[in-house]
Amino acid sequence: MVREMKMETPRPSAAPRRSSVPGLRNPLMLKAGGLLVFLILSPLRAQELVHVLIDKAMDAARTGPAVPAADDAAFLRRAALVFTGMPPSAEEARTFCKDPAPDKRTALVTRLSAAPAFTRHLAVQLDVMLMERRPEMHTKAADWRLWLEKSLEANKPWDQIVKEMLAADGSDANTRAVARWLLERQSEPNLLTRDAGRLFLGRDMACAQCHDHPRIDDYLQRDYHGLYAFFGRTSLFQPDPNKPAFVAEQAAGDAAFTSVFTKVSGNARPHLPGDRDIEEPAIPEDQQWTVAPNAKDKNVRPVPKYSRRTSFAGSMVKSLAFRRNIGNRLWGMVMGRCLVEPPDVMHSGNPPAHPAVLDAVADGIAAMKYDMRGFMRELALTKTFAQAFDPAPLPPDVQQSLAQKLPSLEAEAARLKEEASKLAVTFTEHTEAMEELQRSTEPVIAEWTKADDASAAAKSAHAAALAAVQKAEDAKKPLTETLRTLTEATQAAEKVCAAAPQDKELAAALKTYKDKTAGTQSSIAAADKEIAAKQADAKTKEAAATAAAQTALSKKAPADEAKQKVATAMQNVAQDDKAKQAARVAANEAALRVKESQAMVAYVNAVAAATPLLAECEKQTAALRAAEKEIAPQEIALSHAKHTLAAAEQASGDAVAQVASAKKAAETAKARMEALRDASDKTVLAIQKVPGDKDLEGAGKTLQTKFEAAAKESEAKGKSATDAESAASKAAAKVTELKELFTKAEAARAAVEPKLAPFKAAVADAESKASTVRLALADARQALAAVQTGTSSVAGLTSLTPEQFCWSVLQATGIMDQMKEQSAKEWDAKNKPAEADKTDPAKQAARAAGIDQLTFDKIKPHQDQFVRLFGNSAGQPQSDFFATADQALYFENAGQLRSWTYPSGNNLAGRLMKLKEPQAIAEELYLSTLTRLPDAEEVSDIARFFDSRPPDQRPAAASDAVWALVTSLEFRFRH
């Protein structure tokens, strides 16, 4: 904890607000904060308070008045999308809105966050975030997702998930999918480095691979390689391309790098960005391996005892960057927009709008031990989650106070900006000074290094000399032994010779002994000489070593001093860097505050300027609407005439096409008939000429039969063609008739147009007067929304993910329910539950899970289609929004999609068909798709939409209305 504190960014300007988010940060602060704080934040209670702490941080950071809370329906939709990935049904919406319980929102969030649907949804989101839709080269995506689901079901904390994922090597078939993160990146160290930085630490350092990041001065090359050092030993192990690949790791290897810009080199040991090198165990070279590599057998996968990759996971999960990253990303999943966007480009030049809020979030998830489910529940209980989508209504007095405060805010922002740039200058100066110091101290250090090297060399020379002495002495030892034995043998021989003086052989033996003894004695003398020489040499070398050691010692102090100076300078520069970063973050916050205040003031002014003119527009429009009602019969008659005519034209076109194909069929049949007749006639002639030929007679009969059948066929086809022709001419006549009716309807409509003309003119007049202020108001509103979305002070607009979009379409159209019903039938048919099972909670849960699985199996192909259309390509960031024509073409023309919106059973369009009242139709439609009731204008639009279609086109009208709602912006984006 103490070390982590040092990593934190000091924020002088944020200090006063810090008291509002006291110390989940660390126990020391709790003590400092006094007993009261300690009691409030005792671990048992901490969990409940995370959302309160975030609210406090947010309130303290807020610039203007808070946006009011969203209404129940909007809240329900938001919560349902966050937790289940789809909107609620119309029925759920009605029930929730009617519920009088004061704590119903908390209850809702609690229920949804505990539901299995959330497990699936969160697993999908984590999968997409971690894998970015990579293909299945080594592992099965379904197994991996299942592992995520099981992990989430068991509430496995995020840090644990990450650790398991990074430790996996794929060697165990049962847990192979866990290695998907590593394997599908081909275990390529640079890719792992980039993605670990992005996904776990919130920093995409890819650009710092070859040099310090050109634009982001917090991202340094040495930090990239510090991160790389964790992965540099990892590689994909697949000696046989036909067998599964595994993750392998070496036991040695560092990350050497050279900047392509400055040519400065380094050799990075593993460290987290901006942090010190991690402590690593010193393992003797011969004990490095659990499974050592085998030069003779390439199928042996080396496994080191100490894994840098695993050690990365261990160090990383304790870092501030780790908790900020996951806090920021989960905030994004719940709120629709991360506090820092994009989430993988966190640095002091792209800070959170409110640093204190990110701190509260990061501390919150750490305090909750990375329980994602619990943490997201907390986020959904914050006031920020509940705030409305529309900007706050700002009464004039607020505007006044904002305007008054503006100058002091501006002054503060200017001051902080100045301070930040001063600190930046200081940092640069100190960095340069440090580099200068490095250069100037280089000789002293080099001298010491040289002397030290020389001393070490002299010392080892001395040691070698001593070893040589020892060796010589060792060589002498057997000689001494031999001499002793020879002396004894000589004495014995002398005795024997004395006893038998005449024996020549004995005398010869004695001589041999004596000669040998003399020889050995001279060898010993030589050895002694050698030893003496070696000893002398050792003495010289000892003196030299002592002298060298003394020299080295004399150089050590200045070198140590120099090193110390450089180290201190480096530390100071690191401090300066942190101070610079903190000042930059604070300056950004102050600048945003000014921007937000200005936007609010501008918005209030725009509202004031526009209100009277817009009221006039509304008045005139209402008058026009009333007038339109009077001519509604003519309008509707015209529209019916037009739709009926269009349908008839289409039918007529079809009939014409039918004629062509019928005629063609008739011609073919006729030609066949004629050919057969011809053949038959000729055969008859042949029989006449060759009477009695059995073969010819047989052929004649066959041909006659065939001809008769063909004649019948030809007649039938001919009739079909005639029928088709008459149908076509009837259809054409109908078109002519309907055209006349249409012309009449048009004339009737034109005749009543003058009734509308004055109203239209009045509307146009009012609109033209209001046009400038209307645009100004829209501008001011959008500008305010843009600023406030950035500061999390108003609900943002976020596109649904491909999966959410697919599920939402199925849910809103009522197809999801039909699939569920179908799945229930299938499950029951297969499992035949007994009556008693229906009251057994465990069996019911199993049934629910089974049905759920069957339902999502049915959804899978559609979900894949949505992913193909709305998802980015594999390996690219999946959160980037894009809209392409093929997406719209799918909605326009895909038969599948159109079948969902068409009335069938109890699907949405089917339900609309059963309703008569326009109000009821519009309500069911809006509640089912947008989870809100339509306003009066929308009801009237829907009524008019249905009225405009002739009664026989009502199913198509219902389908089109559902289609228009699910293709709308309000459906595509959550808000």
Partner: protein, 431 residues
């Protein structure tokens, strides 16, 4: 545009839309709306469409042999059995397997000195299509996406990047990397129109237009509450889709004259070339046609005889047509492979992968006509003059199309060079 008589004509709705567009125009997005064909007059559009630069790539998948095509070496041990024939440009000879193309040489240029140091199909394809060597952890956009984005004008309603794939399939390719799906290629599987561009017969056009009007009205109302670049893009993609449906005849090669279809021949490649002509003529920025397959490790000569026999006439017809219609002035045409084939003839009468000294053929806008750049030695085993690499080619394409090849795209605030900054255009090829 046909209008639905009812829901679309109320005054409030009209005014709302007008205000909406007015605002868009001021916000600088007006230009992109003009692209939906709402404002631009047909005459102006036609004129603009004619001036606009385009690129057509014919990809000889598998690795075309330079010796049996653009750089023949008859009579030497590596030369193979085929002769070299004169072309419409005195002094330039190509392999006798390309008699029709030889007659178009005055529109084309040859580059005979490519050394890409990459003999793997996948990696070779990557570097020829992206102009860069594949680096771990990085995916670069293919040239179709780069060109489509670099030449994108706001008044574009048709996709800028189309790949006619020899097989089936459809949808959108993943070839635009960080340039985003907008510039990813739309696939015309075996020359069929894009997916979902046809209305199902069950839908009445009139009713569909009404439904779209209701959708617009719901959107206009929502846009009063909040409008962002994303909401604009989403509403706009429906307008693009409508425009695409209105112009779906662009993709329908059967609408070409019977006579033309006969000239291009009754083969897939012939039809694809004719479709390519149609697409280029209709103003698609980048079109890619693939001819497959040239990976002739055995029976190189028989295969090239057959394949180039299939290729020659349709390709030559395409060049002739583009030239006659004045489209060569605006269109860059490139015939490329992932690499060439070995001068050495193996024991199966095949030639293997070879990136050390090979050729491409190119022509059209920005490229000098009827010239040869670069040279290989007598046996074709080494480049002896003006050696170039893939990055140089990429710079050359961009320069020929009038794009500053040292320019960058700004992606999420970061400058991404269009072409590898280590390389330069091949000046000798450029006009």
């Amino acid at each position: 545009m046909k209008t639905c008589h009812y829901a679309c004509q109320t005054a409030a709705h009209d005014l709302g839309r007008r205000a909406f567009f007015g605002k868009m125009a001021r916000a600088g997005a007006g230009a992109s709306l003009a692209g939906l064909g709402l404002f631009a007059t047909p005459a102006i559009s036609a004129e603009l469409a004619k001036q606009q630069k385009r690129m057509l790539v014919v990809r000889m998948a598998g690795g075309l042999s330079q010796l049996e095509s653009w750089d023949p070496k008859p009579g030497v041990s590596t030369g193979g059995p085929f002769r070299a024939i004169p072309t419409s440009v005195p002094g330039i000879q190509i392999c006798e397997l390309l008699p029709y193309t030889a007659k178009q040489m005055h529109h084309l240029a040859l580059l005979r000195s490519i050394n890409t140091h990459e003999d793997d199909h996948g990696k070779g394809h990557y570097l020829m299509m992206t102009g860069r060597r594949q680096k771990p952890g990085v995916t670069d956009p293919e040239m179709g996406a780069v060109i489509a984005k670099a030449l994108d004008t706001a008044d574009r309603s048709l996709p800028g990047h189309i790949v006619i794939s020899p097989g089936g399939g459809g949808g959108r390719n993943a070839d635009s990397a960080y340039l985003g799906p907008k510039y990813a290629s739309v696939v015309l599987g075996n020359g069929n129109p894009p997916q979902f561009v046809e209305r199902p017969g069950s839908l009445a056009e009139n009713a569909v237009l009404c439904a779209n009007d209701l959708r617009r009205k719901i959107n206009d109302r929502f846009a009063l509450r909040r409008r962002t670049a994303e909401t604009e893009a989403y509403t706009q993609c429906f307008e693009q889709a409508q425009e695409l449906m209105r112009r779906r005849e662009v993709f329908d090669v059967s609408l070409e004259a019977e006579k033309d279809r006969a000239r291009y021949g009754d083969s897939d490649f012939g039809r694809h070339c004719l479709l390519a002509r149609r697409l280029i003529e209709k103003g698609i920025t980048f079109v890619q046609v693939t001819h497959s397959n040239y990976d002739t490790h055995n029976e190189n000569f028989n295969f090239h005889f057959e394949q180039l026999g299939d290729f020659d006439k349709p390709f030559a017809t395409l060049i002739d047509d583009l030239a006659q219609r004045g489209l060569m002035e605006h269109t860059l045409v490139v015939v490329l492979s992932e690499f060439g084939r070995t001068p050495n003839i193996n024991h199966l009468y095949g030639r293997d992968h070879w990136s050390k000294a090979w050729s491409i053929c190119l022509g059209g806008t920005g490229i000098q006509k009827g010239i040869v750049v670069g040279k290989t030695n007598d046996k074709g085993t080494e480049v002896t003059e003006r050696q170039v690499d893939t990055g140089d080619l990429f710079h050359t394409y961009l320069s020929a199309l009038g794009v500053k090849s040292d320019g960058s795209f700004l992606i999420a605030g970061q400058k991404m060079p269009m072409a590898d900054p280590a390389n330069k255009p091949i000046k000798e090829l450029l006009v």
